[in-house]
Symmetry: C2
Subunit: 427 residues, 2 copies
């Protein structure tokens, strides 16, 4: 852990810098897999599944029987937990439904917005030893609320050609229409172009490794939209002298265990607290099964001492963290000053894992300073706000002259003409 | 104009296909300009301005005097028109302000969303003989309403190193903070990386040629967000036997005059109307100053005869047009069935040019079937909805067990631990 005391503002840009991410060296490999999937469809996907996941598949589609079987393989306690989490995610995202906006801008000119679901969406869920079933809930629940007609999920199978039952259980709870056994670049290609089995979708969501990220970027240049660019996960905790150092240390560690490239950032105005947290991290680290990973990530972590909490907030806004924990007594005051962050946790009880799983907010969030321009996945991510306008003859009288004048000045005579003809017409 | 009668559904995918857009062959050229701007800053931008716009510039920034002077160079009629258009655009986008969403998902667990402006945005306005001052209003007005702190505009100067006065007048009305003389790839690079003069921004908006589009795509892979991918402009008109063929023809032509690659699509259930429109297009075309362009675009246009208006709407949804004009008597009924479109115009009086300039809706819209997944620029495009959560001890009691269970099953022990420590703590 790197302790930085009272850094001058000149050093902030360096301080908040993320490690350089460049997946372009993977582009050639990724492109060749994408091209192959586009040309050979299912056959190509199956061959890559054999190569990369060591799974020999007859069918890419997960069968109804496999989904049913999964419900019996998951412990009742986990099923209950999934349902509780789904319930909260559902409530929060359902509350985000757009009521619509409608108004008369000039006499006889009515404009409105209406939100319509993206008809086909694709969700990618990585596999591996720790299956991210929580991400299934995060991505599928708002898709269902939005009313997406087709919700496709791709996730890699294990060597026996099976999908983790917790992923299938979560998918059933959240209302996914179709599940396919496909991982990595071949899964992104299958959803972007469509194959004999996998439907083409219009937008792809979900996390993944560098190859998946490169594939999402490449297909986003032509075929489909994607949720957002992604980098390693990160947390920033702001603490004061009243914070609970045991909690703060636990929160830093729960970020650090994600991966060796996870970003861990503490900002505090209390040197005593900084030292306490540091001590607690060392103690708690010892007990963690993933302590090697967490220790490596902590090597790059930054514990920053600042003069006061206003400066802390300013530094956090410059950092633009994915997760921001305001572990201070005056967390409400600080929260009002948040400008750049993905999701914010207020007070000593709000640990990041609450939001990672079950508070109701989405855990698919902008990393790598993308919070400067992006927000996390929410109900909007699955919809488009289409604009409408209705004009009466009175509307033509209100704006016709201005439209003709502007069109003429932009040298678009046919635009002017379309309006002029209507101005001349008497009903 | 190509007339297609009663096409079978099997042929629809081919019918709605856009010309293949691939800017990747420009990537090497574009990348070298971007790299140069990143390294040499202002000096590089100035050298490309000299090379491509034949303008020798001392300063990239447009001075206060130049902005003031522009107000006197624009006709009072155009100034009034700009103000009327701005007024309507302002009203409609102001009505889109997000009230916030807040609720208690479980006892003691409060979640909310708050919308915060992207702090720095960049607007690109192409130059040329027909300056797109209307796009200045469309992009800058919502940026101002959102509360973006820095609104940067880049637009190429003419050979004398001057920016078109109508662009400066529109920028002043809409509240742009800073204007720079820079066009093409060098402008996108300047806003993406920042130079000595031009501030780095977090999101870049605006239209442009293939080079600008390729540059926006490239910087979006690493540095900044962009509004949306772009292709040639397009309109789809749905007409029935009651439509006014003179108006319909004028609307098709006002799309066709944009460029030789503009997409013009008519769907009707009346063969009589189809023939009438065709005749009217020929008559009106003759009178247009840009008739060569329009004629070339019309060569690729499609006039499609279908059995009824439901089929027309279904075909339009498959086409996913940027602009959709419902020139039918029952436009309200059809409007309810719109699934994929950028902006929709209802009834005989609502010509596309109304929305292009002054109805209040935004004219920066998804082309090239991107309407399947994207909406046009709106107030949301300039903001991020940040999520917040606050938990009390009761909240921990509500969701703690589920969080621990899920974290354990995802093998994220530190996540479970951060929650367990809070469950064990008594206030």
């Amino acid at each position: 852990m790197n302790v930085i005391k009272y850094p001058s503002k000149v050093t902030w840009p360096e301080l908040v810098k993320r490690p350089h991410l460049d997946v372009s060296q993977l582009n050639a490999t990724v492109q060749s897999v994408l091209d192959d999937v586009r040309q050979r469809g299912d056959e190509a996907v199956k061959s890559y599944e054999e190569k990369f996941d060591h799974a020999v598949l007859n069918s890419l589609a997960v069968s109804e029987e496999e989904i049913e079987e999964a419900q019996t393989l998951v412990s009742p306690e986990l099923l209950d937990s999934l349902k509780l989490a789904h319930d909260n995610i559902f409530k929060f995202h359902h509350a985000q439904q757009f009521e619509g906006v409608s108004l008369e801008t000039s006499k006889g000119v009515k404009c409105w917005q209406k939100s319509v679901a993206i008809q086909k969406v694709g969700l990618y869920i990585p596999g591996g030893t720790a299956p991210l079933f929580s991400t299934v809930l995060m991505l599928a629940t708002p898709a269902k609320i939005a009313g997406c007609k087709e919700i496709v999920l791709c996730t890699p199978p294990n060597k026996e050609g099976k999908v983790n039952p917790a992923i299938l259980a979560a998918a059933k709870i959240a209302g996914v229409s179709r599940i396919y056994k496909a991982g990595g670049v071949q899964a992104i290609g299958a959803m972007a172009y469509g194959t004999e089995s996998v439907p083409k979708v219009y937008k792809i969501f979900g996390p993944g490794n560098q190859y998946v990220m490169a594939a999402k970027q490449q297909v986003s240049l032509h075929e489909v939209a994607i949720d957002m660019p992604a980098g390693p996960s990160e947390v920033c905790v702001i603490a004061d002298k009243e914070s609970n150092p045991v909690f703060v240390a636990a929160d830093l560690l729960s970020q650090a265990e994600h991966g060796i490239d996870s970003q861990v950032f503490l900002i505090t105005d209390s040197e005593l607290m900084l030292n306490e947290v540091k001590k607690q991290v060392t103690i708690q680290l010892e007990r963690l099964p993933r302590k090697e990973i967490a220790a490596k990530s902590l090597d790059n972590s930054k514990l920053v001492l600042v003069h006061d909490l206003d400066e802390a907030m300013e530094l956090s806004n410059a950092y633009a963290p994915e997760h921001l924990i305001l572990a201070t007594t005056n967390s409400d005051t600080l929260a009002a000053k948040v400008i750049n962050a993905g999701s914010v946790f207020l007070g000593k009880w709000a640990c990041e894992s609450a939001g990672d799983y079950a508070s109701g907010t989405n855990h698919t969030l902008p990393t790598h300073q993308y919070a400067l321009a992006y927000n996390g996945v929410n109900l909007d991510s699955y919809m488009r706000k289409i604009t409408f306008q209705h004009l009466t003859k009175e509307g033509i009288d209100s704006i016709g002259k201005a439209v003709v004048c502007m069109a003429e000045n932009e040298q678009l005579e046919a635009h002017a003409n379309a309006m002029r003809l209507r101005m001349q017409c008497q009903e």
